[in-house]
């Protein structure tokens, strides 16, 4: 696919102190008035509304799909979220519930969240999700193999899943909370992108810490470098731990300043979140009415 595959043992080293300092500076920008309003709308439109729990039921997924289409009927002119993110067994139900609303269905696959299974099982998992109608596949990498230094194994696995996906967009979850260092985050990002990922995604949401600003910054920079080298755009999805509107705006500031305006839409950037949507809705209502809002008046899911 690419002319030259780099040596993944020699990916750039990351200056952790510098990255943290830079990431914290994005949080100092002040967004007010119309800019804030537009930012909130954009963030809302970038959400992958997610439910990934053992206790998920058909009813819960249908309810979430309804919420995705009707975020807040009392506020006309709101966008919808970008996608619903569920387990493979729920894809069919979500697909049917969303109908022709234009909201995509993303399915986790490949023995999510641990990825501790054989390639055969992982492929079967992915095939099933695609057959059910998933528009996007969220796969996990094999972190154990990664730590053993078997980068080719990780690469081959991603490439094999991508082959199955075809036109279906593939998000590769690095699970940065298990990678241990920013150097490893950068290396895993490079492996995923060269192996054919359409998106790179921080976390499953099952491990703490999930998405943080420094980790996301490292991944955005990896995307930028990859774009300069190959001319191919890769999308980004921080997931887990982003539950406040203010934090989402900080991420958008970072996105704009690292990758620029071309990435400022839900084709190239997503938030994996469940409670973020409600906080943004509360902020929007606050902007509209001037009154601080209460979670009591917003639907739970």
């Amino acid at each position: 696919m690419f002319d030259i595959i780099p040596d993944f043992t020699a990916t750039p080293k990351i200056d952790q102190v510098g990255v943290e300092e830079r990431a914290s500076r994005f949080t100092k920008r002040s967004l007010k008035g119309e800019t804030k309003l537009n930012g909130l709308m954009l963030a809302l439109n970038m959400i992958d509304l997610t439910t990934l729990e053992g206790k998920d039921t058909e009813g819960k997924v249908k309810q979430l799909c309804y919420k995705a289409m009707h975020l807040l009927d009392a506020y006309p002119g709101l966008p919808t979220v970008a996608a619903i993110c569920v387990y493979p067994s729920m894809v069919g139900i979500a697909k049917k519930a969303l109908g022709d609303s234009g909201i995509k269905v993303a399915s986790v696959a490949t023995a999510f969240p641990s990825g501790q299974s054989t390639l055969k099982v992982k492929k079967e998992d992915t095939r099933f999700a695609i057959a059910q109608g998933a528009d996007e596949i969220d796969m996990v990498i094999s972190r154990g193999k990664f730590h053993q230094g078997e980068y080719n194994f990780v690469y081959d696995e991603i490439a094999a899943i991508k082959e199955l996906c075809g036109e279906v967009r593939l998000k590769v979850i690095l699970e940065t909370g298990e990678l241990g260092s920013l150097d490893n985050v950068r290396r895993a990002s490079d492996i995923a992108m060269y192996a054919g990922a359409d998106f790179i995604k921080t976390s499953t949401g099952k491990i703490q810490p999930a998405a943080t600003m420094p980790v996301t910054l490292v991944m955005l920079e990896a995307i930028r470098d990859f774009y300069y080298k190959t001319g191919k755009k890769i999308a980004m999805k921080p997931a887990g731990g982003i539950s406040k509107a203010k934090l989402a705006l900080h991420y958008l500031v970072m996105l704009n300043e690292v990758l620029g305006e071309d990435w400022m839409n839900n084709e190239w950037f997503r938030f994996g979140a469940s409670s973020l949507a409600n906080d943004i809705l509360m902020q929007l209502m606050k902007q509209k009415t001037g009154l601080y809002q209460s979670g009591d008046y917003f639907s739970n899911d």
Partner: protein, 295 residues
């Protein structure tokens, strides 16, 4: 003569168990009876109230589900801590113009009032709950539940006993609160926050701001995540404003006009009851009064 410069206390606000300065960076001066500047205190802003409300909402879950007996123990502990710092409170009340005897009286009464409500923590439920006679096959009973987050605007006079008299029944009943201290006499309120902070009371259950009533009253009353507002002045315009804002999301209101907070009538379990919702349960049962044995 000593050349030592006295270290003066910075009077800060109390939010979520911590003592930040107001985010606005503003202050105003408090003068002693001679007209000299006694202290600078924070002129709190809308955002301080927002932060305090979030702290109170977060603390509500844990505080309201605590055993009633444990809430009583904590109120008792507040009284113990206050007793230990009596002298400091007397001095501060005198800075605000009280005579020594008056000040001592007020502090002692505040301690006793905390003990009083400490005792009520695990008893008001029995007094106000009921089993209700109904004409169907139901066991019907009503029990009290705390309302949630309460905005309290403390009385302007009797700064310490007024604040304690409003706060104690609210938290005894399992609510959390944000209090606006007396505008002209806020020093003892800030020191009282230090007492709260050293007495096992979880952070966020009580939050205390200092500042202007005219500036903060709209925010104390129109926040959609506040469940009740308590106001103790006899000011028709302010009361009207609170009532209008309360109507936005049907907050409860409690107005205590012209109460003498130093008197016996300023303490009663009915003050606890003012911040409780009544939940009535209809529990189906098989037998009704007239049924007979089956054999």
């Amino acid at each position: 003569m000593s050349t030592r410069i006295n270290v003066l206390k910075t009077y800060k606000i109390y939010i979520n168990g911590q003592f930040p300065r107001t985010e606005s960076g503003r202050t105003y001066e408090i003068k002693n009876p001679k007209g000299e500047v006694a202290a600078n205190v924070c002129l709190s802003s809308r955002k301080d109230f927002r932060d305090a409300e979030v702290a109170a909402r977060t603390a509500f879950g844990g505080w309201s589900t605590r055993a009633a007996f444990n809430r009583g123990q904590i109120l008792y502990r507040i009284a113990e801590m206050l007793e230990g710092r009596k002298l400091q409170f007397v001095e501060e009340l005198m800075l605000h113009g009280s005579k020594k005897l008056q000040a001592e009286n007020e502090v002692e009464l505040a301690i006793d009032r905390l003990i009083y409500y400490s005792g009520w923590c695990d008893k008001y439920q029995q007094i106000f709950s009921s089993v209700n006679p109904v004409a169907s096959s139901h066991f019907n009973f009503s029990a009290l539940e705390p309302m949630g987050v309460v905005s309290i605007i403390a009385p302007q006079q009797n700064a310490l006993i007024g604040l304690v008299s409003l706060m104690a029944p609210v938290i005894a009943g399992g609510n959390t609160c944000v209090i606006l201290a007396s505008e002209t006499k806020p020093l003892s309120a800030v020191t009282f926050a230090e007492v709260l902070n050293s007495s096992d009371l979880p952070g966020g259950v009580v939050n205390i701001l200092t500042g202007k009533v005219s500036e903060l009253l709209p925010h104390f009353s129109n926040h959609m995540d506040v469940n009740a507002v308590c106001f103790a002045e006899d000011n028709a315009n302010d009361i009207k404003l609170i009532q209008e804002n309360a109507a936005l999301n049907v907050k409860r209101t409690a107005f205590y006009k012209n109460k003498n907070w130093m008197s016996e009538e300023a303490q009663s379990p009915y003050f606890i009851n003012d911040f409780q919702e009544v939940k009535t349960t209809w529990h189906p049962i098989e037998n009704i009064g007239g049924s007979k044995s089956g054999y």
